[in-house]
Symmetry: C2
């Protein structure tokens, strides 16, 4: 149960404009970073004037925080779904698949997150040391039990989770490089799906 504050009642036009601003801000922040982005760019992309943008959000900082606030849950949900009662290899491969789908469908969110961590997570430190760490420890315990029961091969569980993050997010965050190296006529995410399935199947085979 989250204790998010009750959203204030808003008119149709307010809802629409706030959403346009957040959509535009995601585009700009994820590709330019916080300081690289300007209110001008965001307002332009949202189809508003700069002062009008600031009518909906009190500051640039608040626009950015609003985006980040929604991010972590989306990012962790695929891991939450990994079920201790399921088949180990299937559960892990399912997690890899869901995480890769996130990279494919929400690359801007992935880059927004990457920008934040790269810079030392000035605005997310607390949630990373709290919520994220707690979830990883919970799921690492599940993985460890599967290993002790001989249902998957033994590897360091936390680094196994890191590896899934690294490999799936790479295809969103370094998309430009991936496409440049592959050249035309490739579907990076389809190929990544096949590669990662093979990789984790071989790694985890007891």
């Amino acid at each position: 149960m989250q204790d998010t504050p009750m959203p204030l009642p808003r008119s149709r036009i307010q809802t629409r404009n706030r959403e346009a601003i957040l959509e535009a801000a995601l585009e700009v922040f994820s590709s330019q970073g916080f300081r690289g982005a300007t209110l001008e760019q965001i307002a332009e992309a949202a189809g508003l004037s700069k002062p009008n943008l600031l009518y909906y959000f009190p500051s640039k900082e608040v626009v950015h925080s609003t985006l980040l606030a929604g991010l972590l849950d989306t990012w962790l949900d695929p891991l939450r779904e990994m079920d201790a009662a399921g088949d180990p290899v299937e559960e892990i491969l399912g997690y890899v698949r869901r995480k890769l789908d996130l990279s494919r469908d929400f690359p801007r969110e992935s880059r927004l997150f990457a920008n934040e961590i790269l810079q030392g997570a000035p605005r997310m430190r607390a949630v990373i040391e709290g919520e994220l760490k707690a979830l990883v420890e919970e799921k690492a315990a599940v993985l460890r039990r599967w290993m002790e029961d001989g249902r998957i091969a033994r590897v360091e569980p936390v680094h196994l989770i890191f590896s899934i993050w690294a490999l799936t997010q790479h295809y969103a965050d370094f998309d430009m490089q991936v496409r440049a190296v592959l050249g035309e006529g490739h579907d990076p995410f389809a190929e990544a799906g096949a590669f990662l399935t093979t990789l984790y199947a071989r790694l985890l085979r007891p």
Copy 2:
């Protein structure tokens, strides 16, 4: 053989100051991104005044380019060393090890590079589509031959290289997150070394 231009003759003090500036700039650009960094911060960290910094470099842009220019070779050297005549698994594990050592010893360079790619590589597009792509294709051919000869397991060679980049650079670029999740009393790079050795040994076993 590189055709780098002959460096201009410089006094001792010029050499020292230029190096101090580049060192300071690496620190600041890698943690704040290009637009996030200010000449003020860089000058301060280098122990110079802002105009004095601009006596050594004509602009912020040139300081940044100078850093990037030296980067790609360092980054690609470990892959260049992978020898078609060596033992396949040993060669690949050696590459993983060298790349992980780079992440450990030059995390700021890794983050500078990550910042650049994240933002669509506005200043490195050419070298990525040229030099980097060419080297990857050359080494992918080596990997493919090893697979055809049955000396390592069959996987998509380019994605195998991507996986090594993703997994090793993750420990530099997401260092903050890695340490936050692991908590005290861990040596992330030592643990990563063990994990990655296991991972690639199992993946590649014919």
